[in-house]
């Protein structure tokens, strides 16, 4: 396999994993995700789709810091494949939805995008009237995401990470059947040991920015910044840190909800939250294997492989 082939495979895997994760149905002109979103108005879509924004932000914030922070040294370069997955607990599966204005009861509990079969509610005093949400699109215990990325290090104690994946790189899916999906990310990690040379651990600060666009409907951006500390023990590297993560998912579509029809353009806020992460890495010369776990409002894990020098 040539390096060009390898890059193509990695980007394809990344794009397909994300596409599958958010519900693309390649054989049809419109995905399941788009089909269900259009049934909701601007206010009613939030509860259904918010968990997707939450787990995407949690997943995409991982994978940038996967080892002890950079030391002083020469330039380094590597190509990586990183997979992340978020645990879908019960709080991400159900939400309290509003029924149409005037309907009694005014609220009911139904499925989010991760919630399985939806429930219906019957009007409390008018027999013959009922209302139902849509089923959860994703049937999973964990929600995966994947990305290929490039890492450049050793620049004044700083590492730069760039990730990119696009559905246009997937050769076996016809473009007209596959809503365009693009993931871009950028991360920075800067060593503080350059300034505090007596620190017993390797300490760094870092941040990342991610952008995920799916078709003309979903446009998610997220940021993360925090502090990381680690130490190497031979071929084993251990690290831990704390990060603040948040983001916004913009939805732009045309609603078919009779109570709120027409163009919808809303931002779903992923509230900034603090998460703790811990990880380990095996440094095997040009090859590195790494794993991470992050704990907070969403628990997520990452694992990957790095090849470089």
């Amino acid at each position: 396999m040539t390096s060009r082939d390898a890059r193509h495979v990695v980007t394809s895997i990344g794009a397909v994993a994300i596409a599958l994760a958010i519900g693309v149905t390649p054989a049809r002109g419109q995905s399941g995700l788009e089909g269900v979103i259009e049934q909701y108005g601007a206010t009613s879509i939030k509860g259904y789709i918010q968990p997707l924004a939450d787990v995407l932000v949690a997943n995409l914030s991982l994978g940038y810091l996967n080892s002890a922070p950079p030391k002083k040294g020469g330039i380094s370069f590597s190509i990586e494949a990183v997979a992340m997955t978020a645990a879908l607990d019960e709080s991400l599966r159900q939400y309290t939805a509003n029924t149409p204005a005037g309907f009694q009861p005014a609220t009911f509990t139904t499925s989010t995008i991760f919630g399985g079969t939806a429930s219906a509610v019957t009007h409390s005093s008018i027999p013959g009237l009922s209302y139902r949400g849509s089923d959860g699109l994703v049937d999973a215990e964990y929600f995966p995401t994947a990305a290929p990325q490039l890492r450049l290090g050793g620049i004044l104690g700083t590492e730069v990470v760039v990730r990119y994946a696009s559905s246009t790189m997937v050769p076996f899916i016809e473009e007209e059947d596959f809503p365009d999906l693009t993931l871009m990310g950028f991360g920075l990690q800067h060593s503080l040991n350059r300034y505090f040379t007596t620190l017993p651990l390797e300490v760094s600060i870092g941040g990342s920015y991610n952008s995920l666009k799916f078709g003309d409907i979903v446009d998610l951006s997220s940021t993360s910044f925090g502090v990381n500390a680690g130490k190497s023990f031979g071929i084993i590297g251990l690290s831990a840190g704390i990060a603040s993560e948040g983001g916004t998912m913009n939805l732009a579509y045309t609603s078919t909800d009779p109570t709120a029809p027409g163009a919808v353009n809303i931002d779903l806020d992923v509230s900034r939250s603090i998460r703790f992460r811990a990880g380990g890495a095996l440094n095997l010369g040009p090859l590195k294997l790494f794993g991470d776990a992050a704990f907070g409002n969403v628990t997520s894990y990452a694992g990957g492989i790095r090849f470089g020098f």
């Binding site: 005037g102 309907f103 079969t117 013959g128 009237l129 849509s134 049937d139 995966p144």
Partner: protein, 182 residues
């Protein structure tokens, strides 16, 4: 030691990949509560009449369900909305919306009455300050037609307390859902 670590790490990586793939799937069948669209019309009242029977319209399945969806049964009526447009000082008496597969086979879905001006603000089964009554037979007929993706004939009629004026129209809208898969 080093070889064992490498082997263990690679096995763990492969195991994680397999776990991720096996634990993730798209819900099958994935049922969307599709909003049945455009089962509505604007009926024009003929000036000078007391009884109004402005007519019927026919909605084919292609009018009310996008062809990207495959109906999977399980329809629901959520609401019926009536709105009047124009100026009139009298009342609507015995207004009704009838539903059926043909004009010769109709069931009453909703009856309503009240001051014309009250209906200038949309009145519905679930939000009203007039009298609106749902008929179970009409609900069953409507849901059967939607679930079978059949043509729906919607007729509208009733009476006024005094002769109608000019520029009077009545909007009737039906909010229904049907289970469908994309």
């Amino acid at each position: 030691m080093r070889a064992r670590l490498i082997k263990t790490a690679l096995v763990a990586l492969v195991a994680m990949s397999g776990l991720g793939a096996s634990c993730f799937s798209i819900t099958d069948p994935f049922v969307v509560s599709v909003n049945v669209k455009d089962i509505k019309n604007v009926y024009t009242v003929t000036p000078g009449t007391v009884n109004f029977d402005p007519g019927c319209i026919t909605k084919n399945s292609s009018d009310y369900i996008d062809d990207q969806f495959e109906v999977a049964g399980g329809g629901r009526l959520v609401d019926v909305i009536v709105k009047t447009n124009g100026t009139y000082n009298g009342n609507i008496v015995g207004g009704q919306v009838r539903i059926g597969p043909t004009q010769g086979n109709l069931q009453t879905l909703v009856t309503y009455s009240g001051p014309w001006t009250a209906f200038n603000t949309p009145q519905s089964l679930i939000q009203n300050n007039v009298t609106m009554t749902l008929d179970a037979g009409g609900v069953n007929t409507l849901l059967n037609l939607i679930q079978n993706q059949a043509a729906i004939v919607i007729c509208h009629g009733g009476a006024f307390s005094q002769a109608a004026g000019t520029g009077m129209t009545i909007d009737v809208g039906i909010f229904a859902q049907v289970n469908a898969t994309p």
